[in-house]
Amino acid sequence: MLEPLLGSKSSEKVLIFIEVFGEGYAREISRFFEINLDPIQKQLDKLEAGGILVSFVKGRTRIYTFNPRYPFLKELRAILDKALTFYPEDERERLFMNRRRPRRRGKSI
């Protein structure tokens, strides 16, 4: 959807994932979209170097999120939100139905 604007499909997938879930790590994003890890990691690095994302380490995982200090963040997120409304229904469902809220250990899924 935004590939002509963002330059690559991986970049769009990374940004859409973070827009929907608030944060994410490379393996999680690559698994979700069933694409190779390498281009996702490259895009995460690129977006971090460009000041669009920031990362922090939790345990052994580097987690990425939007940089709240990025001056065009509001506008970027508006574009991502609009792009999401054009996504196919099944893709939207997968994005929005993926459970991220806490669930106590031991409870059935």
């Binding site: 170097a49 460009g50 000041g51 709240p68 200090r69 001056p71 065009f72 963040l73 509001k74």
Partner: protein, 179 residues
């Protein structure tokens, strides 16, 4: 010209900045080194953050830095004769989502240093506190405010714009405590 090993942080920043300027690369000092300048070194940081205002092609920066003896390590630049490390955070130059408009110029024997204003320096540090709850940045914002003429009303208005009034009140209270 002083040798790099004898340059202070501000002199080194001025030297690098002036050299890059001759190569058409516009950078402005921000971050911890700006705090050190505005607090007369009450705060020390080994970092020299030169914001790459117009997002220059990385290769061009690497080449220019190499010409003055710096080598790239990860995304930082090091020089064998100094403990200071230089980084080029990406532009545009902004605090919150506002462009930075006021730049201070300081003359050194090594070159002219262009640095964000003391008020923007406070906003820059407060942004790190507001968004990441970084208490060290809050302390730095207080230090810069105490050492310079800062318009608290301007800081308040800016904090309102980015919806961080609760955090601004903490800053304001701590500022009064430390007076």
């Amino acid at each position: 010209m002083k040798s790099i090993s004898k340059m202070t942080q501000a002199e080194l920043a001025a030297y690098v900045q002036s050299y890059l300027n001759t190569k058409g690369i516009t950078v402005i000092l921000s971050g911890g080194a700006a705090v050190a300048i505005y607090t007369v070194n009450k705060y020390a940081s080994p970092d020299i953050d030169l914001v790459d205002v117009y997002n220059t092609e990385r290769k061009k920066i690497i080449l220019a830095m190499k010409e003055i003896g710096f080598s790239e390590k990860h995304r930082y630049f090091e020089h064998p004769d100094t403990k200071y490390i230089v980084e080029f955070p990406p532009g545009p130059l902004s605090v919150g989502d506002e462009p930075v408009k006021s730049i201070n110029e300081m003359k050194f024997s090594t070159g002219t240093l262009r640095v964000i204003s003391a008020t923007d320096c406070v906003k820059d540090r407060l942004a790190a506190y507001y968004f990441w709850n970084d208490l060290q940045s809050l302390d730095q914002a207080i230090l810069v405010t105490k050492h310079n003429h800062i318009s608290i009303n301007e800081i308040k208005t800016w904090s309102q714009t980015i919806r961080k009034m609760r955090e601004f009140k903490i800053f304001d209270e701590k500022l009064s405590d430390k007076k």
